[in-house]
Subunit: 222 residues, 2 copies
DNA sequence: CAATGTGAAGACCTTCACAGCC
DNA sequence: GGCTGTGAAGGTCTTCACATTG
């Protein structure tokens, strides 16, 4: 448990998960070592950018041969906190909430869906994956008792801010918001918006104004 | 149909949908005009940033009173192409694909789910929202015949690139990828990754390294 | 000799601050 | 007077290019 490294630029942080993915793919392909050029290509960034990113928290390449994949993977995972298991709460158990509760990655080593909340009395008490759907008013207690650290909002837009407020006042500082609504976050709280409509509008601009993409895939990060 | 304005920086494009959202909220509140200061606050950006963004494609504020909300909304919608209806195809009709097919925004004025694809014979032929689930091999034909312009990938990671390739070779140039996989895009193709795991990893870093957020909500864009 | 790590340069983006307009 | 639109300044991020190292 490395407590706190030197602060890393947000642009870099948003690319680290990409590198993790790329490293995983390379491992699957049976590689054990990789030069920045290749890793950058798989991740969809420039080699210089990749090296600068890695340099912000250490230097663990070998000149002449590149990076040891397993080693780098462990290192990045540690920086990101992916070596810990974070307990995630989902609020709003409709189609999307259900889909996410069953999402494979959320069942991976780093994240675990540990609580489900809704306000619909017809749903409360029902069990999903062995977990009962609880009323959202029970959130403060549940967060404290079960050490829930992240919240996912999959409610309708109208109540998204209320739900976010409830999460924040319960002590949750990291929120992933799927509701098509702008969320005002409190001090020290990080909200990542995964707003499908917003993404589609960016794609819409791309369609409207002809092809101007570089061909590289970009993440919603930032 | 304004054909092609002067190119707009991607950072600006990724904020325009936020402004659209903010303007909608202000309209609901009964406002009809708004100064940059207020609009920026609702959208979660700085006032100067907002004004610079708008300046990239025109100038339609009124000094002394601000912006006419309806007018600005129409203007931004036009720049983004949100005044057109884009037909969206969804590939991978599992929990997540189903949830998105039923997603309210996709039923809004700008986007319309017009085709569903899968490879599971048990699902093919089944109707969702009146639409049959078709085999993914029918995609090239469907894209051409029905003028599908955007693709949403909600398949397992393992086949995501194959599905993306199929979309691209069918002529789709705008892809929203929900699969936890890196997608290599062709020339002129824009892929937006909505990778839940990637977002959670960024949140994980935030948790790990203590509160360093500004309190402002940021979108996945870029 | 191949490939990293990194100053320096360059590109891009945001903020500042104010002239100009309603 | 209030507020936009915008040059100029300030920051931040990315790319370049190369000295350095295994």
């Amino acid at each position: 448990m490395s407590p706190s490294e030197r602060p890393i630029p947000t642009t870099t942080v948003s690319r680290l998960p990409l590198y993790l993915r790329a490293l995983e793919r390379l491992l699957e392909l049976g590689e054990s070592t990789v030069p920045s050029e290749k890793l950058a290509e798989v991740a969809g960034v420039s080699a210089a950018n990749l090296r600068k990113d890695l340099a912000t928290f250490g230097s663990f390449g070998t000149r002449g041969s590149g990076y040891d994949i397993k080693n780098l993977k462990v290192r990045i995972a540690s920086v990101l906190g992916a070596d810990t298991e974070w307990k995630v709460a989902i609020a709003g158990i409709g189609n999307l909430g259900l889909a996410l509760a069953n999402y494979p990655i959320l069942a991976g080593p780093s994240f675990m869906v540990a609580a489900l909340f809704d306000t619909d009395n017809a749903k409360i008490g029902t069990k999903i994956l062995g977990m009962p759907i609880r009323h959202i008013d029970e959130m403060p207690l549940a967060v404290a008792e079960e050490n829930l650290r992240m919240g996912v909002i999959t409610t309708p837009a109208g109540v998204a801010q209320d739900v976010a407020n409830k999460m924040m006042s319960s002590g949750i500082k990291s929120i992933l918001n799927f509701a098509p609504a702008l969320i005002l976050a409190g001090e020290g709280v990080l909200v990542r918006n995964v707003d499908v409509a917003l993404h589609l509008l960016v794609l819409s601009y791309h369609e409207r104004s002809g092809q101007n993409g570089t061909g590289l895939s970009r993440n919603s990060g930032r």
